[in-house]
């Protein structure tokens, strides 16, 4: 207990030092002419000076950032949606919930939940952009017509920001694994017995990720930290270059590169045949059957429908706050209907077309039905970082190359997602505080360091990480999605929203989706949310009560929320002073 208190005290000490350094940075005098005269002349009081520096811009600068091409925004949103879950979570969910039959509730959730809410997000984002806003709180304030929606909209910054605290860390594992396949030494010895290989893979994962002990990264496992630093640096560099030169340019080459990597691995997996003649049933056809043979009995289980809705929901990045931010950089007559559908379709190709064919098929061919079942039971991380290294070890000379390609592809999938997590927070700091991008990047880095270090330090058992994932990366996504679809269909008004969605649209949404967006999607979402809460919340609350690390994670969430609330309060004052229509009272131009 005492040691737990000590590590928390150490963390908060680092946090306070960081904030003091940042306050000092704010106080450093700027060269003449870089700030308005009234701010430079605010006297000697440090508090007044810092306050003045926080509020020094009282007029909104015209927002000049926008997407360069039509394809650029589609690939960026698709890149945000395609992540580790497409390749590692989806196959496990499908295999556990009816195989091929899982695709019935899966496609139902895609049509009635994912795509309609996605269209609503795209439309709200572009509308908010026309009003001069780019962050979820400001956009929801406009759509939801008031402060309540604006303050709830803070969730739309909290989710991507808090998820980035741990997502970038996992991203670094992908880069580290890819590097190990290129530079060695081998993660798993192919000559060892299956049991020994399993231990080697598990030991490597445990040591590399710090799952075995708290503080292991600080104690000596420096390489993971180095990979994290590289990953974090690349992310920040990309978003600091802006929407067009940074995010769009990166996604425009990363998405095709990811597709090429996936095709290479898929081609190899589908041509594995029957690698071990001693086990003739371990072949590609049987491997595909493990994932795709339907079990219709599972359709009677509400859990299957819940799993399908959850998978669609998290996979498409709806309810994350990201799509609204990205869409806010579109021009007022840019299409959102075809763009939203194309981004969703691209995500599905990676999920069903690649994830549904590669992961479990490869595991089955080498590990058989029992080994694959154990891998699926091991969850996303077990499947991706323990089982697949064993599979690549069986592939002979090509194994190392395929391992490198596979983990580099996962890294690309992760980084196109993580940059979409930093961008909403960056936009929020810029527009709420009236700061330049460089200063906002400085604050973003400070907040991310304060949030990421505890995730890396308190790594034992992944409790800290999974608590953040449960409460922010899962629970709050449901909440934000419900707020979004309610604001769009009921507060902003479906007729107005429908008209807004079709401004500049290249295809028309079938009229039946008016009914879907107004009644079906909100009700579907509510049912899923209630069922999800009944199933999971009691255990999560018990976990928080019993585990100090889980409590620490909640403290981090609370501290981040408090910071964002302060920013939105300052932003409100600025936006009012600048005469912006922050409550959505006037029609957009």
């Amino acid at each position: 207990m005492l040691s737990g208190v000590l590590v928390f005290a150490r963390f908060f000490l680092f946090l306070i030092i960081g904030l003091l350094l940042y306050a000092y940075y704010l106080r450093v005098p700027r060269p003449p002419g870089t700030m308005p005269d009234q701010v430079q002349a605010t006297g000697t009081s440090p508090i007044r000076e810092v306050r003045s520096r926080l509020e020094w811009r009282t007029s909104m600068k015209p927002q000049t950032q926008e997407w360069g091409t039509r394809l650029g925004v589609i690939l960026a949103v698709a890149g945000s949606a395609v992540g580790l879950g497409n390749f590692l979570r989806f196959p496990g969910q499908a295999a556990e919930n009816g195989g091929g039959a899982f695709m019935i509730p899966y496609f139902a959730a895609l049509i009635f939940l994912g795509i309609p809410i996605g269209w609503a997000e795209w439309t709200m984002g572009r509308y908010g952009g026309r009003k001069g806003f780019h962050s979820a709180p400001a956009i929801l304030g406009v759509i939801g017509k008031g402060a309540a929606a604006r303050y709830i909209g803070v969730i739309g910054v909290l989710i991507p920001l808090a998820v980035s605290f741990y997502y970038t860390y996992i991203e670094a594992w992908c880069l580290g694994y890819a590097w190990h396949y290129v530079a060695g030494p081998a993660i798993v010895d192919p000559a060892a017995s299956p049991g020994s290989q399993m231990r080697q893979a598990a030991d490597f994962y445990s040591g590399f990720t710090g799952a075995s002990e708290n503080g292991i990264l600080a104690a000596g496992s420096v390489q993971t930290f180095v990979f994290w630093a590289i990953t974090f640096g690349v992310n920040i560099w990309i978003v600091s270059r802006g929407i067009s030169k940074g995010v769009e340019r990166f996604c425009t080459w990363a998405m095709p590169a990811m597709a090429i990597c996936a095709l290479i691995v898929l081609a190899r997996v589908l041509t594995l045949g029957t690698p071990d003649v001693a086990f003739p049933d371990r072949n590609v056809s049987s491997g595909l059957g493990y994932m795709w043979n339907p079990n219709f009995e599972k359709l009677g289980d509400p859990g299957t429908w819940l799993a399908a809705a959850g998978q669609i929901f998290f996979s498409l990045s709806v309810g994350f706050g990201v799509i609204m931010n990205y869409a806010s950089y579109m021009k007022k007559n840019d299409d959102v209907v075809l763009s939203g559908l194309t981004a969703s379709a691209t995500n599905e190709v990676f999920e069903v077309g690649f994830g549904g064919l590669i992961t479990l098929t490869a595991a089955f061919v080498f590990l058989g039905a029992s080994g694959t079942a154990a891998a699926v039971a091991g969850g996303t991380f077990g499947l991706g970082f323990t089982t697949l290294p064993m599979v690549f070890a069986q592939m002979g000379a090509l194994g190392a190359l395929l391992g490198a390609v596979w983990f580099f592809m996962l890294f690309l999938a992760a980084i196109t997602s993580s940059i979409s997590m930093y961008q909403p927070a960056l936009a929020f700091f810029e527009e709420s505080l009236g700061w330049s991008r460089q200063r906002a990047v400085g604050l973003l880095v400070a907040v991310c360091l304060a949030g990421s270090f505890p995730v890396m330090y308190f790594s034992r058992g992944g409790v800290f990480l999974s608590t953040l994932d449960d409460w922010v990366g899962t629970f709050l996504i449901f909440v934000l999605a419900m707020v979004q679809i309610f604001c769009f269909s009921w507060v902003f008004g479906l007729d107005r929203g429908w008209e807004e969605a079709h401004r500049g649209a290249h295809i028309r949404i079938p009229r039946v989706f008016r009914f879907v967006m107004k009644y079906v999607a909100p009700l579907y979402l509510l049912v899923v949310f209630v069922a999800f809460s009944v199933r999971n919340l009691p255990a999560w609350i018990r976990g928080v009560a019993e585990q100090p690390l889980a409590q620490g994670a909640l403290v981090l969430i609370a501290a981040t929320t408090a910071l964002l609330l302060i920013c939105i309060r300052l932003g409100e004052k600025r936006w009012r002073a600048a005469g912006l229509d922050l409550d959505g009272r006037r029609p957009a131009e």
């Binding site: 926008e66 039509r70 059957g289 795709w292 043979n293 339907p294 194309t342 599905e348 069903v352 295809i507």
Partner: protein, 41 residues
């Protein structure tokens, strides 16, 4: 793999690849926006 497994696999792949192909065909066959055009001269 059973026949029904193949049916579900092929149908699902046809749906996602077909939708994506149709969407990208529509997007790429549109007139370029002014900012998409290469600079003149």
């Amino acid at each position: 793999m059973t026949v029904l497994g193949w049916v579900f696999l092929i149908t699902s792949l046809a749906c996602v690849w077909g939708l994506a192909a149709w969407c990208f065909y529509k997007v790429l066959s549109l007139e370029p926006r002014r900012s998409d055009e290469p600079p003149r001269g």
